[in-house]
Amino acid sequence: MKVIVDEDKCVGAGQCVLAAAEVFDQREDDGVVVLLDAAPPDALHSSVEDAAARCPALAIEVLQRP
């Protein structure tokens, strides 16, 4: 799994941090998403997918790699 975030789209809602705190954080000054792990381990895949689904601004893209 490869994760891509679009900082310009992010509206700082924090939904991704709730879904997968190991993979997403927020910048201190403007709350914009910080990607902690662009290739998270298998055990986190479902929570990363949850984060992408929750994101109100559609700022998280998940690419599945075989």
């Binding site: 509206v11 809602a13 939904q15 927020q26 201190e28 914009v32 949850d50 109100p56």
Partner: protein
């Protein structure tokens, strides 16, 4: 109602009235079930007499709210005097970023998002828990029955948002009265404008004072930052003050009433307090206090659900209906189930306007509900449930008062 053929002429004259009447205090109007199944994108006449579209399925509500072809600057859906359809939309008041589209919306929201991050809100937990404990102490020493709204649900978020913004809590009587006017469905356009103006003027006076004597709070920070005009700071402040206390107060009070009406669910929460995070999400979904949804306007012709929504047409995305959509939520979405697995609910909206204070609301709801049920094991309504005055007459649903004892 089953006609979903594509249309080419925008809203049809045979629009049905937007459903607004509840038969059960916790459920949206019954018509929504039929609409979701048979006419999920349907022409309606809003209570203010204008024609537009009503969107009722979870998937479609999300699609509308995430689509930049639907703009946020729209007339408030009210029951007051109809506004002629050809009246041009006035620009949003300064700072009212919930009615703005990018890039203006982004410019203002970005200045605030750092103040409402998950981490910052979690740092507030001890302070919120102290406020909650203080209110519970006061209730316990006063003895029941008390009005849970005035003595618990309203003070908690009001104290917190005042502290965060840098607004004196002593000013609460004024801003709570003005907030009520803004949210009253029967308020006239003039009354709403006056109340907005009074709130903005109040914040404006505070920002001027903060320029002279800087303070370490959100309004003080916006003044120091200098990227917003004084009028914008006043508008942002009034908006955050209103949204920061009315919404959460109603979720705490209505959430309490709902748990008392579902004793099995309340017992489960008492037996396993670790369920509370999930219970908060479930109460947000089940009760969805933005009771008529979010209104948008089509900025161009848009195809949606087999219909052509013409540019300029108002569209109401029903959060309450979307949150009861059985295709999205497992089990029976019309039942409160604190163990229901999380699935994206719409209580905070969706898209770029999704509630900026949602993490604060979660912290406040969890602290308040956990401590309340823990402190008063015998908590119960002090009047029959059908005598509790419901906020059917407000844009934000809930209870006007909630007499409880223990």
């Amino acid at each position: 109602m089953t006609d979903t053929r594509p249309t080419t002429t925008g809203p049809r004259p045979a629009a049905t009235p937007q459903p607004t009447v509840r038969t059960c205090p916790f459920d949206p109007p019954e018509e929504y079930r039929t609409l979701r199944e048979q006419a999920p994108v349907t022409p309606v006449t809003f209570p203010d007499g204008t024609n537009g579209w009503l969107v009722t399925r979870h998937e479609d509500v999300r699609a509308v709210l995430a689509d930049p072809r639907f703009g946020a600057n729209r007339r408030a859906a009210r029951t007051g005097a109809p506004v002629p359809a050809d009246t041009p939309l006035p620009p949003p008041a300064p700072g009212m970023f919930i009615f703005m589209d990018p890039p203006e919306h982004t410019r203002i929201r970005r200045l605030l998002t750092g103040q409402f991050t998950v981490r910052r809100m979690r740092q507030l937990i001890p302070a919120v828990e102290r406020i909650v404990a203080g209110q519970l102490d006061a209730m316990a020493s006063a003895g029941g029955p008390v009005d849970l709204v005035q003595d618990f649900a309203l003070p908690i978020p009001s104290l917190v948002i005042c502290e965060l913004l840098g607004v004196p809590y002593a000013d609460r009587a004024d801003f709570q009265r003005n907030s009520s006017t803004v949210l009253r469905l029967d308020a006239t356009h003039e009354e709403v404008q006056q109340a907005h103006l009074a709130m903005s003027r109040h914040i404006h006076e505070l920002t001027v004072a903060k320029r002279v004597a800087p303070t370490d709070d959100i309004l003080g920070g916006l003044v120091r930052d200098g990227r917003l005009t004084d009028e914008e700071v006043a508008g942002v402040g009034a908006l955050l003050l209103l949204a920061g206390h009315e919404t959460t107060a109603n979720m705490i009070a209505l959430g309490t009433m709902c748990l008392l009406g579902n004793p099995g669910q309340l017992a489960a929460l008492r037996a396993d307090p670790s369920l509370m995070d999930n219970a908060v999400e479930e109460l947000l979904r089940y009760l969805t206090i933005i009771q008529f949804g979010l209104r948008r306007v089509a900025l161009e012709d848009v195809e949606l659900g087999g219909h052509r929504i013409e540019a300029g047409a108002p569209v109401l995305a029903s959060l309450t209906s979307g949150n009861r959509d059985a295709t999205q939520f497992s089990g029976d979405p019309d039942q409160l189930d604190v163990r229901r697995p999380y699935s994206s609910h719409l209580a905070f909206g969706h898209g770029i306007h999704q509630c900026i204070g949602q993490q604060l609301a979660r912290v406040e709801m969890k602290a308040a509900l956990s401590a309340l049920i823990d402190r008063f094991p015998g908590l119960r309504l002090a009047v029959p449930a059908q005598e509790v005055p419901m906020r059917d007459d407000m844009l934000i649903y809930g209870v006007h008062e909630l007499p409880v004892t223990w």
